[in-house]
Amino acid sequence: MTRRLRLPAAVVRELRAELLREDGQERFAFVDAGTDDGSLLAGRVDPVPDEDLARQSRTACRPSPAVEREHVSDCYDRGLSPVLVHSHPFAENPRFSGIDVESMGRFREWLTGLFPDRTFGFAVVGETGVEAVVRDGDRLASLPIEVVGEWKLDAPVPGSTDRFAPGTGHDASRAAGDASGTTDDVGAGGGERTLPADGREGERIDDRFDRNVRAFGAEGQRRLQSATVGVVGVGGLGSMVAEQLARLGVDELVLVDPDVVEESNLARLVGAYDHHVGKPKVAAVREHCWRSAPTDLTVETVADRIEARPEVLDDCDLVVGCVDEVRARSFCNEYAVKHLTYYVDAGVRIDTEDGRLESMAAYVQTVAPGATACFDCLGRHDREATRLERQSAEERARGVERGYVDEDDLEPEPAVVHLNGLCASTAVSAVVDIATGAKRPPEFVRHDSIDHEMTALATEPSAACPTCGDDGVLGVGRRSFGDARFTPESADGQSEETPSD
């Protein structure tokens, strides 16, 4: 993926609020960022109070060296990279000044002397625009801005890009590695149309997508086609999501599910037939996607739990969670929050009482980390459910014997194909909205299938959230601190901390 500075909408809002004030003075903040494939993932914002600035005017600002040293060192200790941000309150769409460039060059030399292998960046924030650079060896390289959940901003960041723009996301690296793998190859022998209207004359979109193009435009279709989407859980719900994405023209799918097809799945699992029983669900759904979509659809399958193979999501622009286990949904949510990846959580719930249908609902939540609420912000993590999910069959049986597990809780949940269909289509609608940018995606939707009512809510991230809040893991990427041994205070009163083998 093209490297960039990925900024959640809430981070942009906070930088604007903290650094652009009516007095017109320049101000300064540190942004702690994780790293991911060369990109910087902005998480926590730490504004520097005016009294800690060594210099401040309407045209310049700089923290005191002690503040700078302490923050940078602390940031590296936490496995993150500092982005040093200052403001140009006088500029709508700011650019680094000559003084900035000179000052950043000196800082780069100083910091690379102290931390030769570490990454850092600089950014300047104006009324709406942001410009950024990142250390690239012995120079500073321009870093495009991507805003996660930009629809949550009052004023978008001009010139920002996003991962779905053709040629900038994961598809760019694929294209670089395979120069022939472009739309020119699609439908060789005919069935193509040229769509010059948006200035991309010569780039072709297969005729099969003609009705899509009429709905969300050629650019929207191209953006969809450039997307890599992970579908975690390809049971009754996920198989429908995967099929719809394939038919919409998404170029690359990553399907994750550890289960094999059982006879009881055949009533809901799209593309699965009797001969699939006993085979991995991901294999059955892949076969169906290939039948449903153009020949250049790439489908990567992972017949394992997502917790065991999180790296398979690294190339995904967006992840859809269609799992029935709360712990897997929480895991996907946390992955998304750490990597600033879009996550669409989809699920259904049917409750019965004495054989009578009590409630029947589909839920879809869009998680744009640091812009909307995450799964945990809304308190959707069910600890009792995860307790049972973590137990082995033997342990559950002993739990029933000992009276600590209700046997009813171990029965399979009710599930029906039409509720899955409702949910899958809503989830895919959210994916299309995010990828095409054609309209604002739904942030939380509940379809009540008893009363046929739909509730849609806008959401906001919670500062108290253990996952994406102030003490959470927003934008930390994948960090590793290794193993360690800790021992109580030694005779000299010092606690000992040593890496272990």
């Binding site: 936490r78 307790r387 973590r390 108290a464 253990p466 290794g482 193993d483 360690a484 041994r485």
Partner: protein
């Protein structure tokens, strides 16, 4: 949090006990834990396996298989249930039996160790924390 929440909590727990922290195995071992009266041996290990959803979920707790209690097998001890991977030197201690209200905002490995002390001190009680407060 300097190095992630579990790491920092393990480090703080290290102020009191020798601790082994394994990031890759998501495991914290409390060495030389002083088991309450009635347990033999009196010093042993506690093992906390951190779920992928930690800190939202409470860790799974194991005690050494050789630990025994004076009045026989306590109700919250599951002999024969060990960590995945077949390490038979551990037995699961069902801290979850106590219907604990684990709060990820407040609760830590330090709190878990305090809970374990109360639970092991009243190993057949369903609510050792309330009894401990009486």
């Amino acid at each position: 949090m300097k190095r992630g929440r579990a790491y920092e909590e393990a480090r703080r727990l290290g102020d009191r006990y020798p601790i082994q922290y394994s990031e890759s195995d998501r495991r914290v071992v409390v060495e030389r834990f002083d088991f309450p009266e009635g347990w033999d041996p009196r010093f042993g290990k506690l093992r906390y396996d951190l779920p992928g959803t930690y800190p939202r979920d409470i860790p799974t707790v194991y005690i050494p298989r050789e630990q025994s209690y004076e009045t026989g097998k306590p109700r919250h001890l599951l002999r024969g249930i060990g960590p995945s991977g077949g390490d038979g030197t551990w037995s699961k201690w069902c801290i979850e039996d106590h219907n604990v209200t684990w709060d990820p905002d407040e609760d830590t490995l330090i709190k878990l160790t305090t809970m374990m002390r109360a639970s092991l001190a009243a190993p057949n009680s369903d609510n050792p924390f309330a009894e401990g407060q009486a």
